[in-house]
């Protein structure tokens, strides 16, 4: 098969502890160098924590896996300085089209409003993404990447974890204060700790073909129900980097995976879709079945599960890596505060609470999409077809068409880290919501709010057209240097004396998106979710919210 990508081979070097036979204690060991493990490792390293990453392989993800990365995951990577390369290499898109037979029934726009730094979605082959993350991890000089290192066992002790690791040089032991298990859907650590991974297997098979071709399909997600070229089944098309196109054909449960993978079976399917004359080459072909399951709790003592090891979804909606990355984002700042003795151990339980809530939301969406695409009964199929029949002419039916509800970040509505609203606010920036972007100018430089939020606690004081009252500024300065440190910014509606921490809301998007009135204060967590908000500055309320947000 053709290949547009050459897989890097990362050198295995035996660790010093293995060579010298000494057992060393590490603050954090991450198991698995997939997208989620690498995100956690880079984030920790950038927060000053040295990390050991163990991976049983010595290259990036092989073959066809994730394609679509959503805005929120990209924002997390952007905070770490990794997103730009992905965006540059990837294909930016936001429009999805749904066809039934040969006519379009529905179209959606994933980012209908302007003025966001990061696009709604990019498409990029998973191997590029992993390669970029590995490069960025090396730059931190705090990530000790150990390839060809398979974790064989995990034992929890009172104040640490002991791992047995197998390498080409044999087995050695290593200790960690904390372990983050990012070892994927087949997680062996989950099994070692005897944890149940419950959910549903969908009785359907999908043929996934990555095809190299010069084609003039637009950079959009196209989904067909019952197209003329693949009757009674569905097909999905996505553009990726390097003129590689991802095509998914639904095959049905009865299909023989080995037969279906053969080029003599795949090529006619592609020709029927693309036309006899379109030149293409196969890059990769595989046949998948999908599952929707999760762990009950993402924490077990000193071991955390993140990404596919904690939850597995069907790919319709691109909620796999896109929800694994926010797992890492949610965990790392909490772990750092606990390691620093700022926050109590119980803060780490909120990692599981918040991300289990997110996983439930993702699983619900993913299961619903799968039920629509792969109806489980005759009547379910009838209703599905009825929706599609109506959707061409009846607007209401279009909103029932479910070809995958694409990944959006979770608002932690029920989190105990939130300070509930005491004042009236409109809009989406409720406590627990991921902060939304807005263009801002800082010291004469055009920029973005998300960049100013960074990776620590941030207070945003909206002063409107006035200066921040001196006593408010003084109190904020004082509180900012407290036990739980934070940065604060004055958001103003027009340029003033250009205070170092002033952000000018250049076109009013901040005011609009945060429903801000002069005096409004927002407290934002290190993972850029809203912790609390008030119409007027009150030092006690802010201090209370800060404590609450770290579990004190």
């Amino acid at each position: 098969m053709h290949s547009t990508y050459s897989y890097p081979k990362f050198a295995y070097t035996p660790s010093e502890e293995q060579r010298t036979g000494t057992v060393k204690r590490h603050p954090v060991v991450v198991v698995g160098a997939g997208p989620v493990g690498m995100t956690a490792a880079i984030d920790l390293a950038q927060k000053g924590v040295p990390v050991v990453v163990l991976d049983d392989d010595d290259t990036v993800s092989i073959g066809s896996r994730a394609v679509c990365y959503a805005k929120r995951a990209l924002e997390v990577w952007d905070r770490m300085g990794s997103a730009q390369k992905m965006i540059d290499k990837g294909v930016i898109w936001k429009i999805g089209k749904v066809f039934h037979g040969d006519s379009q029934v529905y179209q959606f726009d994933l980012l209908p409003e302007p003025d966001h730094k990061i696009p709604a979605f990019i498409n990029l082959q998973q191997y590029y993404l992993e390669e970029y993350l590995i490069t960025d991890a090396k730059k931190t000089e705090r990530v000790d990447l150990r390839w060809k290192s398979r974790v064989l066992s995990v034992k929890q002790q009172d104040d640490h974890v002991v791992l047995q690791v197998e390498t080409p040089d044999g087995v050695y032991a290593l200790e960690a204060d904390w372990v983050i298990a990012c070892d994927g859907a087949k997680s062996s650590i989950r099994k070692m700790l005897d944890l149940e991974f419950v959910g549903e297997v969908f009785q359907d098979r999908f043929l996934i073909a990555d095809v190299v071709m010069k084609a003039d399909f637009p950079a959009e997600r196209w989904f067909w129900f019952d197209p003329p070229f693949h009757q009674k089944q569905s097909t999905l098309l996505h553009m990726q980097a390097d003129n590689v196109w991802r095509i998914d054909f639904q095959l049905g449960w009865g299909a023989d995976p080995e037969e279906e993978k053969k080029p003599e079976r795949v090529i006619p399917r592609l020709k029927a879709m693309l036309g006899e004359d379109t030149e293409f080459e196969l890059e990769w072909v595989s046949v998948y079945t999908f599952q929707c399951r999760r762990l009950e709790n993402f924490r077990k003592g000193r071991v955390f599960f993140a990404g596919d090891s904690a939850h597995q979804v069907s790919p319709f909606g691109a909620r796999g890596a896109n929800s694994g990355v926010p797992d890492a984002d949610n965990l790392v700042w909490k772990l750092k505060l606990v390691m620093d003795g700022v926050a109590p151990d119980s803060l780490l339980d909120t990692y599981s609470d918040e991300r289990v809530a997110a996983a439930k939301e993702n699983l619900l969406n993913s299961t619903r999409s799968t039920d629509f695409i792969t109806p489980k009964s005759e009547v379910s199929r009838t209703f599905r077809d009825a929706v599609l029949n109506l959707a061409g002419e009846q607007p209401f039916a279009r909103s029932l068409v479910n070809s995958g509800r694409l990944s959006t970040p979770t608002t932690y509505v029920d989190s105990r880290l939130n300070t509930p609203d005491g004042d009236r606010f409109e809009g989406k920036m409720v406590p627990g919501a991921p902060a939304t972007d807005a263009p801002v100018e800082a010291q004469g430089q055009a920029g973005w709010l998300m960049d100013k939020l960074g990776g620590g606690f941030v207070a945003l004081y909206y002063a409107g057209g006035d200066a921040v009252p001196a006593e408010v500024a003084e109190r904020l300065d004082g509180l900012a240097k407290g036990a739980v440190p934070f940065a604060w910014h004055a958001v103003t509606s027009r340029r003033r004396e250009a205070l170092p921490n002033e952000l000018v809301d250049v076109n009013g998007r901040f005011e609009e998106r945060y429903d801000a009135t002069p005096g409004t204060l927002y407290l934002i967590r290190p993972d850029q979710h809203v912790a609390g908000r008030w119409r007027n500055f009150d030092a006690d309320k802010l201090a209370g919210a800060l404590n609450r947000a770290v579990g004190l």
């Binding site: 009547v379 009838t382 209703f383 077809d385 009825a386 929706v387 029949n389 109506l390 009846q394 209401f396 039916a397 029932l400």
Partner: protein, 64 residues
């Protein structure tokens, strides 16, 4: 909150019933299933109230 109306609201119930049966004339069971499904979807959207719909779903399922 609206509740499902279960008293008769049809000015002429027999007219409706006849029209319903007529709609299915000469259709196979499979085709009729499709018509019924479309009908449910159209009417559900017209009602547009999840509580009312849930009540209707519950009653429809009862005793089957």
């Amino acid at each position: 909150m609206a509740t499902l109306v279960t008293e008769n609201r049809l000015a002429n119930p027999d007219d409706f019933y006849e029209a319903l049966i007529d709609t299915h004339r000469d259709l196979s069971a499979e085709q009729s299933n499709m018509v019924n499904a479309k009908l449910v979807l159209l009417l559900a959207n017209h009602i547009g109230d999840m509580e009312v719909l849930k009540e209707a779903l519950r009653i429809a399922r009862k005793g089957v």
